[in-house]
Every structure is written in structure tokens, then in C-alpha cells.
């Protein structure tokens, strides 16, 4: 089975979403998170599963970036400050990174969903068919 085959195992889709999500962050264009999920989703099986994998892949990628900020920069203070700016208490700062990961995850998840359906459209084999995963 080649890398570009559809109906990869879940970890391939997750890995693709994660890596692309990680790389696309450096462009500064957050909407590319959707495309990270989309490309991963095209390799996937079903919409529901690929939504979840896109969500997890991109969400983890964003979480990884945020972890970097938390480890090496005052991201916690920033989150508390931003929470205050939003009218929450400083103690609610933890909501900010969660919200960020959620947004990245949703973008990636929707990308995964759309990718899966586009994949089905472009490669209209029955994704649930075992034969789809093997070559004669």
C-alpha cells in the first residue's frame, strides 16, 4: 500500500494532520489548519473518523506549539492577561490555551471531514471494502 492510497490506517491520517498542522503554524495563516486536516482527510476512510483525526492532529500540533510557549516564555501570564481582557478573572487563564487548541482542532477536524468526503468523491471506491486496501 503506497502512502497516497486512501483508507490508510488512522495513525497515518493523524500523523499527516499533526505534521502539516505543525508546519502550517509557521506561515502565520491560521486557516491553513483546515488544509492540514483536509490533506490528511483525503487519505482517510470515513468522514466521522477523519474529523476526529483532523481535530486531534491539528489540535495536538497547536497544543505542542503552545507547550513550547508555556515552557520557554510567559505564556501563562499572557493567557491570564487575555482572560482579563475578555472580562474573565485572571484565574481563568487556562481557558485561553484550551480555546486556542479547540479552534485549531475544529479547523483541522472540519478539514478532515471535508477531505474524507472529497476523497470519496475523487476515489469513489467503497471505503469500507477490504479490497480497497489491497492490490491484486
Amino acid at each position: 500500500m503506497g502512502f497516497f492510497d486512501r483508507a490508510h490506517r488512522w495513525n497515518t491520517v493523524l500523523f499527516t494532520a499533526f505534521v502539516l498542522g505543525l508546519l502550517f503554524v509557521y506561515t502565520g495563516v491560521w486557516q491553513l489548519a483546515f488544509f492540514a486536516g483536509l490533506f490528511a482527510g483525503i487519505l482517510g476512510k470515513t468522514g466521522r473518523r477523519d474529523f476526529l483525526l483532523g481535530f486531534l492532529g491539528v489540535g495536538l500540533a497547536w497544543a505542542g506549539h503552545l507547550l513550547w510557549f508555556y515552557l520557554f516564555f510567559p505564556a501563562g501570564e499572557l493567557a491570564s492577561l487575555f482572560a482579563e481582557i475578555l472580562g474573565l478573572s485572571a484565574g481563568m487563564g487556562f481557558v485561553v490555551p484550551l480555546l486556542a487548541v479547540l479552534i485549531g482542532g475544529i479547523a483541522g477536524g472540519l478539514g478532515g471531514l471535508a477531505g474524507a468526503y472529497l476523497g470519496q468523491l475523487a476515489y469513489p471506491q467503497n471505503p469500507r471494502s477490504a479490497g480497497a486496501e489491497s492490490e491484486p
Binding site: P74, L81, E84, A100, A107, G111, A114, A132
Partner: protein, 866 residues
């Protein structure tokens, strides 16, 4: 088994026939032979799975909807997707909190290599090999630390706030604010001055180099490196233009001199009579210790013109107040500076102090820096306005200088005679000059306005009557030339020559040098008005009230090495009373100047020498001389009149009070509340009758004069009552009101009252976002003390404190309320504010080379030219 699209149940054949089947066969062959994977051949030939297509379309539509929803602002919230993005959202602000320990960047516009060392307070020491590079680097490092503030300042000056904030902010109509600032025309003046400047002049090179530095930083920062505020407001700054620096300089000049007191005074004269205005708002106020203290005689007060348009003037006053509220041009608290000759100091060399009082903001209005250009003669240390090159206030290797605002009358209003698009001047009709302006408004359509001008300047109000404004800023020229040359000045002669280029707003420049000289000079353009004063709006049509010229430079008030061995200014009347020119009338009441004068006399009494500790104590002094002078009189009037314990206790606190506005004492709260109620009770009835309630009240020195010299004045009588009240009656009434108010606010126990409970200092952020601001902090002082506060909520005060030691300038000290960084996560966001609040200072480190600072370097930035 191969996956082949099946027509019928799950799909449809959009194109049929042998050609399609043939194509499918070709596809299968190609797949096997080339890619060994299923290829989307069916799609190529138009075979589509309807269900998959529907899901795809639905998922894409939903995705687009969600992406758009997260990409657009919702209410006051900026786009959440962009903010959340780890690659360009708010998280980069954490990354930018501190400067890296070492950073090397290529900067093609430079001519050499610049080393910038930031010390442990984040203050950059810029070491360059030429003047171009030193100012480029200054622009770069200032943008690194204060980019948003720089952008805000130019937006305020140019009338571009609505573009960044939207139509309103904090209840202020920003379109109206922008329209007002464009009418004043600072950006237009800046363009004109820059267009007429010699591009090869030293100061033009500095301004251009500074802009290059800012733009180099913008390139370096990209979107990810922008400050938090840009991300919250969802916009990117435009490149920096040289005119932007001039616009900010003009805005500072406007904020220090742009008043419409002419309109207020005309309204007061209309309501109270010109004689009342002359008595209560004299040109030469009582109890003044002039900056130039020569003997005196009195001058005329001026006369208002005939009927005026109350509506137009009222409109003007109200518009200005609304604009000031947002742009930070508030009622000024004043400034202090003084210098003491070596004859009276412990070091036998001069000492100099300065604390200009400006609005408190986060970040602060000043940016501290040290500029060194090898071999050029530039080695200046001090504070600069973000967005403006050169050092504005500070010291170099031989001199130190500071400034306070003169408060001269440099704005006149002209009532114009206008017939549609023409105005009458000196018997002839001229076309009104029209300048179209477009105000961009975030989230709304742009608003077009027309700024109309006559020979006097822009028409600033047109409510029934049209008034044009003449301001010395219209003749300002390149404001930075003076400061550029001051930075290089080595002695009084060079300093004074540099001041020939200083135009607006007139400042009391204090000076001291290592050779032992001290000086004070009230310097700036003063209109030369012959046969009239500029106290009231003038007739614009007759040509009889024109500014013929400006007061000659050599006749500005000046004091050099005076016999007293000290010079001082605190916004008091600058000129001795016999001074031949009208300079203005809205002088500070003079209590700070009196207090500084008496402290200097006390500290130097006998053979005692003044020390740095004395200078510190002076800058932090909180004695209210008005209170000290009038409290004994008030106590006499009120004693025995109290009807309850709270009143008696409050009175008892005043009886033992030393007139210090100590934040922990009760008496200052009693005094200040009383003093305000007293003033309102004295004049409130006349103001109401004259229809001028809400307009300025007489200054405290006039009240002191009335109490001491004219205690039977009719002003004390409340004519709303049949009885004829004395000032004592009014004082008792005011005291009762004050005590009742305080009891309601602070409780019945007077011993527990603290001045700091009702008197605070606040440091609001430029955006008004509370989490980014600092304070409130309990404060001592009041508007009349050397260390001022507002007597309520102070959002202005000592914006920079300098203690210069001319025996060794490396021992000079300074501090300002804020921090070097505009990044709220930086340790340098408010570290200087903490020092300032504690009444402390930091040493002005003045290394001659980058190596000299080694032990105190926090970060190093190397900017390499080609």
C-alpha cells in the same frame, strides 16, 4: 479486486458511450502500469458519486462558514482564529516579552555596524560610528519596545483613530475626534514642513534615518512579532514616514499650547462682565514669583470685542473637551525645574532638577535612551518621545537641561466674515481654502469632511459664527532642529543658539553645565500683538488684530547665573511685570514656584549647601502653600461653628496640620474638599447667573488675594439669599458640605480618614483596557504641590524626574512612571513605575563605549549594514 464506479444506485453516468468506457480502460491500464494505485479516473470522465458530492459540498460549506466566523470580528472581539493561532496570534507576544541576550540582524540601510546594549532596566545604549546610523538604530529599538504607542501617537496627531478603533471608543466619538484633529491640521502642517525642509540638513537626515529604522523593525517583526494591541485591534501598522515624527512633535506642541481659553474667557466676560474677568483672571496674577524676577509694574488686561456667538464658542469649548478626553490632552498639572549654582551646592558644581508633568499612560510618554555616535560629538542621554528621534530632555557630556511649559497665549480665535466660499479680510474678499479629508472608519464607510481655512488658519467652529484659529504651530517649522542641536551643545552659547530653532510650545528651559553656569530661558514663539491682547476672540475681517511678528528672540525672559545663585520655573508667570510684551495670562497660580523658591532659600540658608537628597525631597515635596497661607484664616472663621463631633474632629485635624498633603493623614482630605467647595460657593451663584456654570473658576491665588487683601469683596456674598454673606459665612457653609461628603464616603471616624483614600494616581493604558493599565495607587499631594496629584483621580503628574549632577554627570539620576517596554509581559513594562511610586531613582548609566557597560548588559543587539 478493483474499485470501479458503479452507475445506478450510488452514482450516475454523466457521459455515456464507447468513448467513456474506452477512457475507463485506459485509466485502469495506466493505474496498473504507472502508479499501482487506484486513480480517480471516474471523476476524470465525469462519473460522480452523488452522496459523496453532497457530503463534500456540505462539509466545505460548513467549513467555510466556521472559518469565516472565526476570521471576522464579532462585536468588540477581534477574529478569534487569528488570535488563537500559535504562529501569528497573541502567543507571539509572550515570545517577544524579553529581548534575546544576543541578536544580530542585517540592516541594509545602515552605513556601518551599530551595537545596542540594553541595560538591566531595558534602557538601550546605542553605539554607532556615524550620525545616520545612530538615529536609524534609535528608530529600530524604539519600535522594538513601543511600536503600538508610536502608531497611536501618529494616529492621534493625524486624525486616524477611527480607522483603528472604529467609530467610537470608551464613549468617545472618534470620527468627531479625527475630524477635529484634521481640522487643526497637524498632519497637513507636518507634510508642509517636511516638504519645505532641506533633505540634506542634519535634522532631516536624522528624521529619515529614524524612519528607516522603524521600517526595518517592521520588516523584522512581521505579523507574528507585532505587539498585543495590534492583534487585539486586528490591524497592521503602516510603514513609518518622516512626516509621522513631525506630526507627533506637533501633537506634543499642540497638547502643551493648544487651548481655547479665548473662547472660555469670552463666554465668562459675556456672562460676568469684562471687569469681573479682569479682576478674577488677571494677566499678571497675585503672589507670582516670575521666572525672570526683575522689578515690576502692571499692564492692561485687554478688552473683549462686541457681541459674540455664544453657541459657536460653547461648541468649540465642548468639542475640545471631548477630544482632549480621548487624546490625553487633559488639564495640565504643570512642571518644575530648577538649577542651583556651584556656590550653593555640596559639590561646588551646579545641580539641576526637572520634572515635566504630563499625562500618565501605559506605556509612559517617555522612552529613555543613550545615543553615542563615535567622532560626531553626539553622546546624549535622556528621554525621547516614542516616534521622534533625538533626546528631548536629559544631558550630554557637558551640559544638562530640562523644560517646563510656559503656558503662553499662542492661540487666537478670529471671528470671520464669510459669504459662502469667500471671507472678508482688510476690505477684500478672498476664497476660503478647502482641503478635503477622508476619515476611514473601521467597519463602516469612510467619512468625507472639508477643512476650510482663512488667512488666519482653519475654521474650527461654524455654529452660527465661524471662528478661525491662528496658532504659532502654523509657523513651527522643523520642531526637531532645536533638540537635535541641543543634544550636541557644549556650553550656554551653543545651547542658546540651538534654542533659536525652538518654536512651539514655548518652554522654560533650565540649563547647567560642567563649567559652573546655570540659566533659565522662557523660549518659543510669542505672537507680537500691538494694541491688543489675545485674551478674547478677535475680529478677523478688519485686519486690525493681526500678528505682526513674534517677540524678538533676544527679548525672551531669561536669567543667567543670577545673583540668587539659583533659577526656577513651575509654569508660573515667566516675565517680570514691566516686561514690554503680552505673553499670556493663564499662568499657574504659582504655589509650586513659591514652594521651590522657599525650599531653595531654606536649604541654602547660612553656609549650608544643597545636596542630591535635598533635590529629591524637593521633587517629592507635598506642602500646599495655598493651604498653609489660608488655613489660619479659615480656622478662625470656622472655629466654634461646628454642630457635631465629626465637624469638630475635622476642624481639629486642620488645627494641627502642617499643610503637607500626606496620603496617610486626614487633614489633607478635609482641606482639599473644603477648598473646592469654598471656591464653588464663592463663585457658583455668579457663574449660574451669568450662564457660565461649568467654565473655569478663578485660580486659588486669586482667592488668597481676596481673603487677604479684599475680605469684604462682593464675590463672597451669595446673592441667591436675602442676607449679605461674609467670606466667613461662606467658609462655614463650605466646611459643613465638605465634612458631610467625607463622612458619607469615609465614615464618621475622622481619625480613620486618609487623603490617599480619596486621592489616587492612575496609569491607564493607551487603549483604555484596564488589565493593561496600572493603579489606582493612593497618593499624596494635590495640584498645587511640587509633587502633584489631582485631588481625586490623577492621570497626570511628574512624567520624568531628572537630578543632574554637573560635578560628575555619571552620578545623575532619573526615573519615569512606566517602563521601557510596551509589552505587558515584559519585566520592563512597569519596573520604573515601581521605582517612581517609591520615590526612588535610577542612575543614568552613561558608558562611553559598549565595553564600558559590560557588567550591566541585559541584551545586545548588533545591527549590521551592508
Amino acid at each position: 479486486m478493483e474499485a470501479v464506479p458503479r452507475p445506478g444506485k450510488r452514482g450516475s453516468l454523466l457521459t455515456a458511450g464507447a468513448s467513456a468506457r474506452g477512457a475507463l480502460r485506459i485509466c485502469r491500464t495506466a493505474r496498473r502500469n504507472l502508479f499501482r494505485r487506484p486513480t480517480p479516473c471516474a471523476a476524470w470522465v465525469g462519473f460522480v458519486d452523488r452522496r459523496a458530492a453532497a457530503k463534500s459540498v456540505t462539509s466545505i460549506v460548513v467549513s467555510i462558514f466556521v472559518l469565516v466566523l472565526l476570521s471576522v470580528p464579532i462585536g468588540i472581539l477581534p477574529p478569534l482564529g487569528g488570535l488563537a493561532n500559535p504562529g501569528g496570534g497573541i502567543w507571539g507576544v509572550a515570545d517577544q516579552a524579553e529581548h534575546p541576550a544576543r541578536l544580530e540582524l542585517s540592516f541594509p540601510e545602515l552605513r556601518g555596524t551599530v551595537t545596542v546594549q540594553r541595560d538591566t532596566l531595558g534602557i538601550p545604549h546605542v553605539f554607532a560610528t556615524n550620525l545616520h546610523d545612530v538615529f536609524s538604530a534609535q528608530g529600530f529599538v524604539t519600535a522594538q519596545d513601543r511600536l503600538f504607542q508610536m502608531d497611536m501617537l501618529r494616529r492621534v496627531a493625524k486624525g486616524e483613530l477611527a480607522e483603528a478603533f472604529g467609530p467610537t471608543a470608551g464613549g468617545t466619538d472618534l470620527v468627531e475626534t479625527d475630524a477635529f484633529m484634521r481640522t487643526i491640521g497637524l498632519a497637513d502642517l507636518a507634510r508642509r514642513f517636511w516638504g519645505g525642509a532641506d533633505p540634506t540638513s542634519d535634522e532631516s537626515v536624522a528624521i529619515t534615518a529614524y524612519a528607516e529604522g522603524v521600517n526595518a523593525y517592521l520588516r523584522h517583526a512581521g505579523v507574528a512579532g507585532l505587539p498585543l494591541e495590534f492583534k487585539l485591534l486586528d490591524y497592521r501598522p503602516r510603514p513609518w514616514a518622516p512626516e509621522d515624527s513631525l506630526s507627533i512633535g506637533l501633537f506634543m506642541a499642540w497638547s502643551l499650547s493648544g487651548t481655547f481659553e479665548d473662547a472660555e474667557l469670552a463666554l465668562l466676560a459675556d456672562g460676568l462682565g469684562a471687569a469681573a474677568v479682569d479682576e478674577l483672571f488677571p494677566i499678571l496674577g497675585p503672589y507670582q514669583r516670575p521666572v525672570d524676577p526683575r522689578p515690576s509694574t502692571r499692564g492692561g488686561e485687554g478688552t473683549p470685542l462686541g457681541p459674540l456667538s455664544r453657541m459657536a464658542l460653547q461648541d468649540l469649548v465642548e468639542r475640545k473637551r471631548a477630544v482632549d478626553a480621548f487624546t490625553g490632552v487633559g488639564p495640565l498639572l504643570g512642571s518644575n525645574n530648577w538649577a542651583v549654582h556651584g556656590n550653593l551646592t555640596d559639590t561646588q558644581k551646579p545641580r539641576l532638577a526637572n520634572d515635566p508633568h504630563l499625562q500618565f499612560t501605559m506605556p509612559a510618554i517617555w522612552y529613555e535612551n543613550h545615543l553615542v555616535a563615535d567622532g560626531s560629538g553626539l553622546d546624549a542621554y535622556g528621554v525621547s518621545f516614542p516616534g521622534v528621534p533625538v533626546v528631548i530632555l536629559g544631558q550630554n557630556r557637558r551640559i544638562a537641561w530640562g523644560a517646563t511649559n510656559v503656558g503662553a497665549d499662542v492661540v487666537d480665535l478670529y471671528e470671520e466674515t464669510i459669504d459662502e466660499d469667500r471671507y472678508l479680510f482688510n476690505g477684500n474678499w478672498f476664497d476660503v481654502v478647502v482641503r478635503p479629508e477622508t476619515i476611514h472608519v473601521k467597519g463602516r464607510d469612510a467619512v468625507s469632511i472639508e477643512v476650510r481655512s482663512t488667512i488666519h488658519g482653519p475654521i474650527v467652529t461654524a455654529q452660527g459664527t465661524e471662528y478661525a484659529m491662528r496658532w504659532t504651530g502654523q509657523d513651527a517649522g522643523n520642531l526637531l532642529r532645536a533638540f537635535y542641536r541641543i543634544d550636541f551643545a557644549q556650553n550656554w552659547g551653543e545651547f542658546r543658539t540651538a534654542l533659536e530653532n525652538f518654536t512651539v510650545a514655548a518652554q522654560n528651559f533650565v540649563y547647567a553645565d560642567v563649567d559652573g553656569n546655570i540659566a533659565m530661558r522662557s523660549n518659543g514663539l510669542y505672537p507680537l500683538r500691538e494694541g491688543f491682547t489675545g485674551r478674547y476672540p478677535l475680529d478677523g475681517a478688519s485686519g486690525a488684530y493681526e500678528w505682526n511678528d513674534f517677540v524678538p528672540f533676544d527679548e525672551y525672559p531669561e536669567s543667567v547665573n543670577p545673583i540668587e545663585d539659583f533659577v526656577l520655573s513651575a509654569n508660573q508667570q515667566p516675565q517680570y511685570d514691566a516686561y514690554p510684551y503680552y505673553l499670556g495670562w493663564s499662568w499657574d497660580p504659582g504655589y509650586r514656584a513659591r514652594r521651590i523658591n522657599e525650599m531653595l532659600e531654606n536649604y541654602t540658608a547660612g553656609s549650608r549647601k544643597v545636596t542630591e537628597a535635598d533635590f529629591r525631597a524637593m521633587q517629592l515635596d507635598d506642602v500646599d502653600v495655598f493651604a498653609r497661607e489660608t488655613t489660619p484664616l479659615v480656622l478662625q472663621a470656622i472655629t466654634g461653628s461646628c454642630g457635631d463631633a465629626v465637624c469638630s474632629d475635622a476642624l481639629a485635624s486642620l488645627a494641627v496640620w502642617d499643610a503637607r498633603m500626606d496620603e496617610d493623614a486626614a487633614a489633607p482630605a478635609v482641606w482639599w474638599r473644603f477648598a473646592n467647595r469654598f471656591r464653588e460657593e464663592i463663585f457658583g451663584d455668579e457663574w449660574a447667573q451669568g450662564g457660565v456654570t461649568g467654565h473655569m473658576l478663578p485660580f486659588p491665588n486669586v482667592i488668597e488675594y481676596l481673603l487677604k487683601q479684599d475680605p469684604a469683596s462682593a464675590w463672597f456674598d451669595d446673592f441667591a439669599t436675602p442676607a449679605a454673606e461674609t467670606w466667613q459665612d461662606i467658609a462655614r457653609r463650605a466646611f459643613d458640605e465638605a465634612v458631610s461628603e467625607l463622612a458619607a464616603e469615609l465614615g464618621q471616624n475622622v481619625a480613620a480618614w486618609r487623603w490617599g483614600d480619596v486621592n489616587v494616581r492612575e496609569f491607564p493604558h493607551l487603549t483604555g483596557l484596564e488589565p493593561l493599565g496600572r493603579g489606582p495607587f493612593a497618593a499624596g499631594g494635590d495640584p498645587l504641590t511640587v509633587n502633584p496629584a489631582a485631588g481625586d483621580v490623577a492621570t497626570g503628574g511628574a512624567s520624568w524626574r531628572l537630578l543632574a549632577d554637573l560635578s560628575d554627570l555619571a552620578r545623575s539620576k532619573g526615573v519615569y512612571p512606566g517602563g521601557q517596554s510596551g509589552n505587558p509581559l515584559s519585566r520592563h513594562y512597569d519596573d520604573l513605575l515601581q521605582l517612581w511610586l517609591a520615590g526612588d531613582y535610577h542612575a543614568l548609566r552613561t558608558p562611553r563605549t559598549a565595553a564600558d557597560l559590560a557588567a550591566n548588559v541585559e541584551s545586545t543587539l548588533i545591527l549590521r549594514g551592508p
